[in-house]
């Protein structure tokens, strides 16, 4: 084969290509043929398969080259991913053959997650099928963006131009909805080697595009993420000798000697004194992909799971977030069950809060009806709550720290990507060089004496939505249960601690920051703190959550919802009237926005529920979380 000389450039990365598609559309056959036609098979392999087929009394089966397991040959299906190497004139490839059968989705995911590009295979005689779509959807979630579509078995439709273009148009539409723009569509007949290596001049006269091999050579190797925000995932801390080495991998960005690194979630900062490697050239920086060690100038507490970043580009820190997720577990993902979540080197217990939308991966429609679980092979948008703070990024900002897996009973059962999280500029809310002095009376001891946990219940809603009424009713009820409870509201904060603050945007941010810090201290001392502030901005509430979680105290965002018209009608303090008259500026709901919570722990609707009903709903939610004997809420 003139186009296939021996490897010219050994230092090139082998490009990893996954082959996916509906069962029986010819994936393994394609790979077998490709290996044969590129001269990549070892001597005797072809003859060996020939003998195996003869023994079974069947025609030559290319797929046997890859389907290495006896069970695979017996059933003539691919059960598990296989990987095989071959070379073109320009570079090396690893071909990942993934099973098309629905039952083996987890194996398909295993293969596709490590790929740089994908070949999506569609049999011309069957057209676009269920798995052709599901696999494309998963590729988009797994982050494989380079896609070539192969329309196979063209011989079965007599190399019909109209069939080919109809399938191309269908599939192009579908892929566009996923944000996938295929680089090429290529007609082939894998079994006969048509249009794989040699141009198909005589058979497909109407096609003037590249052969499969040329299309592969057009792909671009993955770009390193050395330019992104620094994310250094700590794997371990070693003390094999006199050095204390923080070992981990740069997941994104670049770290340099002399950088000040913030380690989240506890956000202690230290300078990089040196970058450690063994038997390697000395270099004072390390970039995405490198497994290194660092020695810190200041002896701060760092452990596995901490994520290092630069102060100017810190990650998100929260215990509650939204994600798009696919489920592979035998048991459905359900609310009320506890799971382990793994994100980079972090591991944390989590629960499914809600299934916000189940997506039919083949039609991309929302599956209707309220759902409390996600079944095997389903894709859904969900809200997840972790037991304590988790460090993460939105997936579209930093892929490596924007994805996670969920472990159900020892097994990785689902994978997800994070979206819609709020970034908090840490520089504005944190003073540096202040160190905590930790007393011997710890949170645990206080909680045990009180007989309940400390907690912050953060009521948010428009003026007149009923926050104060609910806060007082809730306080009374909890107090009568012999619990330690206190309400923070405008009356006791604005007149004292925050008397120097007005209502400018800056002052409102500072107002909420102080409330959060005070609530944190009180809750850390074992109290249940109910805050009653409009707190109209999402970012401020995200910051408050972060502050509270930093003390390992549970944060409950309770949205007190009522339409603006209702609130304005109530107008208990006649503030709306004054705002309408122009006497008050920047009044929330009138000339300043209220950003509705996207993901509150609980919502009460005071326009439809009586005060008693709302309080009861709040109590039903809070009481189990306050009790000590419920192990899953042990924070």
């Amino acid at each position: 084969m003139s186009t296939l000389e021996s490897q010219p450039n050994s230092s090139a990365h082998a490009l990893r290509i996954v082959i996916v598609g509906h069962v029986d559309h010819g994936k393994s056959t394609l790979v077998g043929r490709l290996l044969h036609d590129t001269g990549s098979l070892p001597d005797g392999k072809f003859e060996q398969i020939q003998a195996v087929c003869r023994r079974r009394g069947m025609p030559f089966e290319w797929a046997f080259l890859l389907d290495a397991l006896q069970a695979e040959r017996d059933q003539n299906i691919t059960i598990d991913v296989s990987q095989i190497w071959f070379r073109s004139a320009t570079r090396s490839y690893v071909i990942i053959d993934a099973p098309g059968h629905k039952e083996f989705l987890k194996n398909m995911v295993t293969g596709a997650a490590s790929a740089d590009a994908a070949l999506l295979l569609i049999a011309a005689n069957e057209g676009v099928q269920e798995q052709s779509k599901r696999h494309a959807y998963l590729l988009s979630m797994l982050g494989v963006s380079q896609v070539i579509v192969l329309i196979n078995k063209m011989d079965l439709v007599d190399y019909s131009k109209s069939v080919y273009y109809r399938i191309e148009a269908d599939y192009r539409d579908f892929l566009a909805k996923l944000g996938i723009q295929p680089l090429r569509f290529v007609p082939i007949t894998a079994r006969d080697g048509v249009n794989l290596i040699a141009p198909p001049n005589d058979v497909v006269k109407w096609y003037s595009g590249p052969t499969l091999l040329r299309a592969l050579d057009e792909l671009t190797p993955p770009a390193p993420e050395a330019e992104g925000p620094l994310r250094f995932a700590v794997q371990d801390v070693y003390r094999f000798d006199e050095r204390r080495i923080v070992a981990g991998r740069i997941e994104s960005g670049t770290i340099r000697v002399g950088d000040d690194i913030v380690f989240s979630p506890n956000n202690k900062t230290s300078r990089v004194a040196s970058i450690e490697r063994w038997n390697a050239p000395i270099k004072d920086s390390a970039s995405a992909g490198e497994s290194i060690g660092i020695i810190l100038a200041e002896q701060i507490f760092v452990e596995r799971g901490h994520i290092g970043s630069l102060e100017t580009q810190t990650p998100i820190e929260t215990n509650r977030f939204r994600a798009r997720l696919f489920w592979m577990g035998t048991r459905p993902l359900s609310t009320g069950r506890r799971y382990k979540l793994k994100l980079l080197t972090q591991e944390i217990e989590c629960q499914l809060v809600s299934v916000d939308r189940v997506i039919d991966a083949t039609s991309l429609d929302t599956v209707s009806g309220l759902r409390l679980s996600v079944a095997r092979n389903e894709v859904a948008e969900v809200t997840i709550q972790a037991r304590s703070s988790l460090v993460m990024d939105n997936h579209d900002k930093v892929a490596a720290s924007g994805r996670f897996v969920i472990v159900d009973d020892q097994n990785v059962a689902g994978g997800g990507i994070i979206f819609g999280g709020t970034y908090v500029n840490r520089g504005r809310i944190r003073s540096t060089n202040i160190f905590w002095s930790e007393g011997t009376i710890d949170h645990r001891i206080r909680v045990e004496r009180n007989g309940h946990r400390g907690m912050v219940v953060w009521l948010t809603g428009l003026s007149g939505s009923g926050k104060s009424t609910l806060a007082r009713a809730l306080e009374t009820n909890l107090f009568n249960r012999h619990m330690q409870v206190y309400v923070l509201d405008g009356d006791n904060i604005r007149h004292g601690l925050n008397s120097n603050l007005g209502f400018s945007a800056e002052d409102r941010v500072e107002n909420i920051r102080r409330v959060a810090e005070v609530a944190k201290l009180m809750a850390d001392s074992g109290l249940i703190v109910i805050t009653s502030f409009i707190s109209p901005y999402r970012l401020d509430r995200a910051r408050a959550r972060e502050v509270i979680l930093s003390a390992s105290v549970e944060f409950i965002e309770a949205y007190v919802a009522a339409p603006l018209q209702v609130c304005e009608l109530r107008d208990p303090k006649r503030l709306y009237k004054r705002a309408r008259a122009g006497e008050i500026k920047n009044f929330t709901g009138i000339d300043d926005p209220y950003e509705v919570p996207e993901n509150p722990e609980i919502t009460v609707h005071t326009d439809r529920e009586s005060v008693k009903e709302s309080v009861e709903r709040l109590l039903d939610f809070l009481i189990p979380r306050l009790q000590l004997d419920v192990a899953e809420y042990e924070i």
């Binding site: 997650a113 797994l142 063994w278 497994s291 490596a400 097994n411």
Partner: protein, 273 residues
């Protein structure tokens, strides 16, 4: 200094990540040291991962049929690098002489007794939770389907029909008592990669790999079942050159693989490396 990030750097970084994960997750962890080229690379990567140290024991399953140079090389390296060497052996079978070819058993049965059973015995004796093994996907079809973290059940068996998913470098690290995990840090390397890395890092390997009188070993095992291939390659560079053009499978000189269509699959399913 050339700081370009090459494919060898990418392979090395990924393997280091896996070794550190294994070291963190499993308190009782050992490396299986076959004394072949891949094992040499693994020892080197351990030192890379742990900044010059080899903090885990290295187990050599000695069938007593290993080529003598291999044992000499093993003992020399163990001493120079301060390796905690543990040697396992199926003494009972050797004493009874139930080995290939004199014990009237097949090659596969012999492998099963001397390697698999000996390994199982030492894992049980030392109660290892995980063993690092230097297999690669490009060696053989069933190895191509392996995972980085691959569980083995109580009977030592590999359930290849129901393997855990692996994505985004998240591995299965929780399992029931009695089972153990095989960790495969070289899974994504090829034979050429191994030699390229040996060349770049100047890693010591047994002399048997280099041509002598027109022959060299491409894969090392027991003397009765391993044959050298015709080769003029006397240096690492020449081996790399030779492998670029070869169409001979790496394990074709390992006779036990060729006994039946699924000989190697059955061996592996029952606990072989």
């Amino acid at each position: 200094m050339d700081f370009r990030y090459t494919h060898l750097d990418a392979l090395e970084n990924q393997s280091i990540y896996i070794l550190r994960e294994a070291y963190r997750k499993f308190k009782r962890l050992a490396m299986l040291w076959s004394v072949g080229k891949d094992s040499s690379v693994m020892l080197w990567l351990l030192r890379k991962a742990f900044f010059g140290h080899i903090p885990i024991p290295c187990v050599h399953v000695d069938t007593s049929y290993k080529i003598p140079e291999m044992i000499a090389f093993r003992d020399r390296l163990a001493k120079e690098w301060g390796i905690n060497l543990i040697v396992g052996q199926n003494r009972a079978v050797l004493d009874r002489g139930e080995t290939f070819p004199n014990g009237r058993i097949t090659r596969v049965e012999c492998c099963s007794f001397l390697k698999k059973d000996a390994l199982q015995a030492i894992i049980e004796e030392k109660d290892y939770q995980a063993v690092i093994v230097g297999i690669r996907r490009d060696e053989e079809g069933t190895r191509a389907k392996e995972r980085y973290f691959s569980p083995r059940d109580k009977n030592f068996e590999w359930n290849f029909k129901d393997q855990p998913p692996e994505l985004w470098d998240q591995f299965k690290t929780d399992f029931d008592a009695g089972t153990h995990i095989r960790v495969h840090p070289l899974l994504h390397w090829t034979e050429v990669n191994v030699w390229e890395y040996i060349g770049r890092e100047n890693i010591p390997v047994v002399d048997l790999y280099f041509s002598k009188d027109g022959m060299r070993y491409r894969s090392l095992g027991c003397a009765p079942c391993t044959k050298p291939v015709q080769s003029r390659a006397r240096t690492v560079a020449e081996i790399i050159e030779e492998l670029r053009d070869t169409k001979i499978a790496e394990r074709s000189t390992r006779a036990q693989d060729q006994e039946a269509e699924d000989a190697f699959e059955r061996l592996r399913a029952s606990g072989y490396m």
